[in-house]
């Protein structure tokens, strides 16, 4: 999971003791999220490294959740040693906050699986007996044997229904209590009625019983329910891992000068914190000492790093890319700009009209129809003067036949197949109903920095610069961690590097060194003694060698590979595409021109982005927001559906419905295609299920549905729906 790696790097310095729990038998337990664990070799290395430590009693890595659980004897080992052991083997691990675990109900999943086992067992055995009875009915089975078989069925089915039916009974009861209808009401009713009536039939020794129908019904429905819950649990655990990265710690400088790691929430105004180079600023504050550059791109979308010095304010969430800074906290964690953005996000979430999933919408219209039909059948047979038993049998047959077996499978199976296909393409589906919402979208809004562009500057005027200057510039740049320097060093790798002495970094200014006794400098315009050229949209570095005129290196953020093609592809699919950026106008205008985007806005603050989304929503448009920065997070929440790249800010990834990996933008187009295809398949599945009902319901109303017909109809419709959903995989192979 590469999206974790960046966040993990930033958190490497955190004190893991904050996350250790005590187990009942006095051992310490720690859960860690491990980045880059994806094969048998990795599992082995991770577990091997941990078990090799003195005092560790248990280490078990989970490949599905990318976490490892460690238990050890606290008297013999410190938690920090465990994290170090993992980093020594090449894995970055960070403590996973146990408070975040269990937001998804694991017990419920387990109970569903147990119910599924019971229902499967009962379905197989009741069918075994039922088939004999059906066979016996057409040949000659004596009444005693039939009665015996019916009692055996009852013996299996009654406890099985009582146990495995609980998920449906509970949900139906909950819906009825709040005076609502859901799909589970007719299911529960059909199962209970069919079982009760069959029991009565068994007691009076009648010819037909429906035990097989009620248990196979439960079995198929539980499969659908389990797949649905599983898909949501997976999305949830991915979100938990990302969320875990957000709970950060800060390095506090105590009044006596000692340093220790504390939780960000415990910071109070007036405290002093140390922000190491490459770390994020933990709280809003004022710089006391240190000169550095701050990358604010995640917060404001601004692509050029800002130079900071004592007396200036810095915001939580921004990245310190220069030298260490000492910051005096001015605001508590819950008052910081970062928290402000989170609050804006929550407001957007509440504002977003509660989306009703297609299955639920179908249920709203389907359940009353089923009940009306069953009641009508009962009334009809009474009116025709039939015995109450015949009337009730036929009414129940209608309930069983219309039971939404195929409907229950229609959405979850497609969802599982689509999610699997997207995961193989490097797209993580985080919201269970994301695909459904994406299929409806008609407008796409892109953020600029980090989304359409890579968010990394690249040298653009390399051809204007001589080989000697390039070599010298790259040699100086190689000693710095500034993003511009990194870009220059990467570009100048092939050039001969002169021998430099006494290289040092002047914080907030640039690099300085001696070249054969002559001072050379690489840095900002002031540092190199040059006039900054204002016309240029990107950023610059200047190289000054002795008395010669300074040389300017210009940098610009580069467009993601395939961005132009992806946008053309999206337009071809009927989307209106817009660019909405927090960056300055020249940079945005230039990129919009390059990519052929007519609709663009620059210098948009987070609230302005939301305003634009609301404006579009009011015009009836369904908007996809694609963004990466903290400043996009509220917009990601406010949009109909949202997508983030894997190197986005943690908060944005938490807010987004989909996350795509890799530098290319193609997965966005792929995701849209899969979403639309799966929506088509869902509709087809519904059509199949309804078509089958239109054929079977008249039979049931007329009283021709024997247990055999019910079982055949139900199983065949379920299997057809599953096979149809599998076509989503086949199409991909044809395309590849």
């Amino acid at each position: 999971m590469t999206e974790l790696a960046a966040g993990l790097q930033e958190r490497a310095g955190i004190d893991p003791d904050l996350f250790v729990r005590k187990t009942a038998d006095g051992e310490a337990r720690l859960d860690l999220v491990v980045a880059g664990m994806h094969c048998a070799g990795c599992l082995r290395k991770v577990e091997g490294a941990l078990k090799g430590l003195d005092g560790v009693t248990h280490a078990r890595a989970n490949l599905s959740t990318k976490r490892v659980a460690v238990r050890w004897n606290p008297a013999r080992l410190r938690a920090a040693r465990i994290v170090r052991a993992l980093s020594e083997t090449g894995f970055t691990a960070v403590p996973f906050d146990p408070k975040l675990a269990g937001t998804f109900d694991e017990k419920e999943t387990r109970f569903l699986l147990r119910s599924l086992g019971v229902a499967g067992f009962a379905a197989a055995n009741v069918m075994l007996v039922s088939v004999s009875v059906w066979w016996g009915l057409v040949t000659d089975m004596d009444e005693t044997t039939r009665a015996f078989f019916h009692w055996v069925s009852a013996l299996i089915a009654l406890p099985a229904v009582a146990y495995a039916g609980q998920p449906f009974f509970r949900s139906a009861l909950k819906a009825l209590r709040s005076k609502q209808m859901n799909m589970d009401v007719p299911i529960a009713l059909a199962v209970i009625l069919a079982t009760t009536m069959s029991l009565v039939q068994t007691i009076v020794n009648a010819r037909h019983v429906y035990f097989d129908a009620s248990v196979t019904l439960l079995f198929f429905l539980l499969i659908g329910r389990y797949l649905d819950v599983q898909a949501r649990a997976k999305a949830c655990s991915a979100a938990e891992n990302l969320l875990g990265l957000r709970a950060t710690a800060a390095t506090l400088i105590a009044p006596d000068g000692t340093q220790r790691s504390v939780a960000v929430e415990s910071l109070e105004p007036g405290m002093k914190v140390l922000v190491a180079a490459g770390a994020r600023v933990p709280a809003d504050g004022e710089i006391i000492s240190g000169l550095s550059d701050i990358d604010t791109s995640l917060v404001t979308g601004e692509s050029t790093p800002e130079r900071v010095e004592p007396g200036m304010n810095v915001f939580a969430g921004t990245l310190n890319i220069g030298a260490p800074l000492t910051v005096r906290v001015t605001k508590r964690d819950d008052e910081s700009l970062l928290s402000e953005i989170v609050r804006l996000m929550e407001a957007a979430e509440q504002g977003r009209a509660r989306y009703v999933r297609i299955a639920d919408r179908a249920a709203r219209f389907y359940s009353p129809a089923v009940h009306v039909m069953a009641a009508a059948t009962l009334a009809l047979w009474f009116a025709l003067g039939a015995h109450w038993e015949t009337a009730l049998t036929n009414a129940i047959a209608v309930l069983i036949i219309t039971c939404p077996c195929a409907l229950g499978l229609a959405v979850p199976v497609v969802q599982v197949v689509a999610t699997g296909r997207l995961t193989r393409q490097g797209v993580l589906v985080k919201a269970a109903d994301g695909l459904e919402r994406l299929a409806q979208a008609d407008t796409i809004i892109f953020d600029k920095t980090g989304t359409l562009t890579l968010g990394r500057p690249q040298l653009v005027n390399g051809h204007e610069i001589g080989n000697a200057d390039m070599g010298l510039g790259a040699a100086l740049a190689a000693a710095s961690r500034h993003p511009l320097a990194l870009a220059l060093a990467a570009k100048g790798k092939g050039h001969a590097a002169p021998k430099l002495d006494d290289i040092r970094e002047v914080p907030g200014m640039g690099m300085e060194a001696l070249l054969g006794g002559e001072t050379v400098r690489l840095g900002n315009a002031d540092f190199a003694g040059a006039e900054a050229s204002a016309a240029h949209g990107g950023s610059e570095l200047w190289l000054k060698k002795g008395g010669a005129a300074p040389v300017c290196f210009r940098f610009e953020d580069t467009v993601r590979p395939g961005a132009k093609e992806a946008i053309a592809g999206l337009k071809a699919r009927g989307f209106a595409v817009e660019l909405l950026s927090g960056d300055r106008e020249p940079a945005v205008r230039k990129l919009a021109g390059e990519l052929g985007l007519d609709e663009w806005r620059a210098a948009a603050r987070p609230d302005a982005k939301i305003a634009r989304l609301e404006e579009l929503a009011a015009a009836g448009r369904k908007v996809v927001m694609i963004g990466d920065g903290l400043n996009d997070a509220p917009a990601l929440r406010a949009a109909h559906v949202s997508i983030s790249p894997a190197d986005a800010a943690d908060v944005s990834q938490t807010a987004a419905d989909f996350i795509f990996q890799g530098a290319k933008l193609d997965p966005v187009v792929e995701t849209v295609d899969v979403a639309r295809q799966s929506q088509r398949l869902v509709v087809q599945n519904f059509a199949l299920a309804i078509g089958y009902n239109m054929f079977a319901v008249p039979l049931a109303v007329a009283g021709y549905v024997t247990p055999l017909v019910a079982a055949l109809a139900m199983s065949s419709s379920s299997i057809i729906v599953i096979v149809n959903s599998m076509r989503l995989n086949r199409k991909q192979k044809a395309a590849a």
Binding site: T23, A24, D25, E27, R29, C39, A40, L43, R44, T57, H58, R60, A61, N62, L63, S64, T65, A69, R71, R110, L113, R114, G117, V118, F121, A124, N125, L128, V129, D142, T145, F148, V152, I156
Partner: protein
Amino acid sequence: MSILVYLVPAALLLGGLGLAAFMWSLRSGQYDDLEGAAERILYDDDKPESDTPDGTKD
């Protein structure tokens, strides 16, 4: 047909054993990490692994 009196319970008993085995495997956490289980089979040593993360059979 009286043979059924023995055969049907025998069939149910065998089915019940299967169900019990499933419940046991579920309890001991064998379905917690399906992806990991698929990879662990590639390990060379055949030593059995220990139990659930809490050390308890829940």
